[in-house]
Symmetry: C3
């Protein structure tokens, strides 16, 4: 593995999951792997669990990390060629990426969707430009359209908790007061295509995700119908892809409740966190034994460690 920016960077998911299970048993087995190496973590948007889990994963393998919170306004980069840079952009991505690559061995980058211009967001300019100009491995810590460390975490979690060979996994939209990116949902589906799971997507009309991520997964606008016999229910809000970045409605009927969970096959409840209680999911669900959000979050560290090990070994 050279970069880790999408599911396309994975050649053998089963092998990665096996490595994750081994790391859970003994996180400090490869304590020397990161010796004399260092990772730069570049946050254009704030991060809590991604930073905490990735830094801990790095510590486990003796890899030093240096964090740079740049903020999307603090350090405005020019991504276009040939521009006369007399405006508010003080550095071109060509220099920015190349310079960091002089000092560090890996760069982790978080840069959210702006949710204003769909074409811009889906072009993945930041991630692709760093890949192009840094010349060293790039790790996606959540980009406008993907969150692959979260998605790998989700697969590890399902593999850990699944009771049947081919579980039914439902990705369900839920209401949220603010406009959120499609990254987690897109990415989850992208990774689900690497599995043999029976995947169903459910959301209100107007919230269809991009075809490149949904592909042939069935989409059901009736949440109750979708939830029937589900083994895992992954709940997540996203803003509209068609009416790009818009919150079309916040219908509380889409919140995941105990009644809806009764339609499932005693499904496990999953969410990437942070989660708004009694908006996305009822207390009675997230506080129940069917909720696996905390072990799921714990797997963020494991997922990051597998990926770091793969990249350092390369």
């Amino acid at each position: 593995m050279h970069h880790f920016t999408s599911a396309a960077d994975v050649s053998d998911l089963n092998l990665l999951v096996e490595k994750a299970f081994a790391i859970k048993q003994n996180p400090f087995h490869h304590k020397d792997l990161g010796k004399n190496k260092a990772m730069c973590l570049l946050f254009f948007n704030p991060s809590l669990r991604t930073r905490l889990s990735t830094q801990k994963a790095a510590l486990n393998i003796g890899l030093d990390t240096v964090v740079m919170d740049v903020g999307k306004d603090a350090w405005q980069l020019e991504f276009e060629d040939g521009m006369v840079m007399n405006g508010n952009k003080a550095e071109h991505i060509k220099e920015a990426a190349a310079v960091i690559a002089q000092y560090y061995d890996v760069i982790g980058i978080r840069a959210f969707a702006g949710l204003e211009n769909r074409e811009d967001d889906y072009a993945e300019k930041v991630m692709e430009s760093f890949k192009k100009y840094a010349g060293i491995p790039i790790i996606n810590l959540e980009s406008p359209t993907r969150h692959p460390l979260q998605s790998f975490t989700d697969v590890i979690t399902i593999e850990k908790f699944k009771q049947t060979e081919r579980p039914k996994v439902v990705l369900s939209w839920a209401p949220h007061p603010k406009a959120l990116p499609q990254a987690v949902a897109n990415s989850f589906l992208e990774w689900m295509h690497l599995t043999n799971y029976d995947v169903v997507v459910t959301h209100p009309e107007g919230y269809d995700l991009a075809n490149q991520f949904v592909k042939d997964f069935p989409v059901v606008y009736d949440q109750n119908e979708a939830l029937k016999e589900a083994d895992f229910v992954y709940v997540k809000n996203w803003s509209s892809y068609q009416s790009y970045g818009k919150v079309l409605h916040t219908d509380p009927a889409w919140m995941l409740t105990r009644e809806k969970m009764k339609l499932t096959n005693q499904a496990k409840f999953m969410h990437c966190l942070p989660v708004r209680r009694n908006v996305i999911v009822a207390d009675a669900v997230i506080d129940s034994e069917q909720s696996i959000v905390i072990p799921q979050a714990a797997n963020r560290e494991v997922a990051a460690q597998v990926i770091l090990e793969e990249i350092l070994r390369n």
Copy 2:
């Protein structure tokens, strides 16, 4: 020791002081104690010396630290049960605490008093909730009502400099242009109750501290009277507890001057820093040989290291 959030977590103060003196002699004696462990430092309010001293203490024992400056606005947590979280609070403390605990071995937390609602501040919601939901050791890096790492530092310092078995220690209020929490003063008194010192509290009327901290210590409204024969003078401003969070007056007559120090038994001058010169204390006092504020500040590292060692050994 499991948590360290107040004097109540101390079972044998003399033993802790002995350990502090041993660490001062050889800070690197337990360099392997923190191996494969990591602490998360969570700052809801900014910190200078607490962060610098705690991170250095952790380095001394090979404990990795990861710092998260969350700011009180950046990451608003919901602390109440059963709320419909459709406002500005994006995460519930239940998930926040549990997730960090998946990655880290200890959590240090700073969260100041809001100084608007006394009941809220004195309920110590942040510290108590993390203790309840994290399930791993919590260290108080200054909370609304206490600053125990500072207070332990203060005891170490007095033990180091005291010339008599039972020194007279005066806690004196001093003026300050802004409203400050009562945490340092409360906490100092709480720890003084663990000693045999002759403690006197002095402040203008209207500045009485909460009974739970003062208990049976004599309170004298006449500063000159209180200072007589003092061996240590600990100066600190706090805003009113009764007229909660208010600055009732900023009378410069309460500033500690050379004349007032003459009333004492060549007392040592102490302050937790930062200190406003010629407002809290005259240059002639803080620049004199009687001032021990710098060795006192140096003991912050020692105090933090003792506590970290106690918690990791547990």
Copy 3:
């Protein structure tokens, strides 16, 4: 070497350059030099490559670093003696410097020019006060009038790329939309005086740098004239020293273009970065083989490591 705040701290530049070349060969040769030691990096102004390169250099020698982004507003320090500190300055430099020195072995400080009061900026109050009151080594990470880690980097880079014993080095002003400090240019000249290079300074009238830095170097107001037969062209904008902090003009004719590079002896193009493309320098120059800005930036890590090693060995 005790402090590193200007060229005056260098006793033998050739020896430092030799050490830089040795470190480039083997950065991890002195991995134990920083053992049980730690550096505090204090940023009153934001930093990208200075922080990333210095932290990486520290990692190379096993020196722990703790970063404090204080912002010039977040932590206002009083530098004058005898003040009644009842305004917005919460701590005196006397305490601030002495306290950090209790915990750390070296302090690195960045504090830019305010560009409002020349006398204040050129007094180097922050750097000089920390030297005076900390009592431990201070490293300048860019101060109002100097940026010695950059200048040392520049010398290493010229030594690496020079083809003749005594290259012609031209420092040329270039336009920029915002007012920038004179620090990089001043410091570059200060270090050039430690070499035997043939140095020429060129800029529009009104942009003369302070005499203490230019000394006997020839100043030419005709850029084309200056560039003739140059082996290295170091381009940098600075605001006016005479009309202090003012942008007198932004004449695009001063941008470094391919045509101008033809006047040189196939000169290498240097810049400290970040650089505004097609404002400071044309794409055709910075993207050409004559541009050495990336290896120059890479030498920031090497320069920082040499200085840290010198200081720790002392």
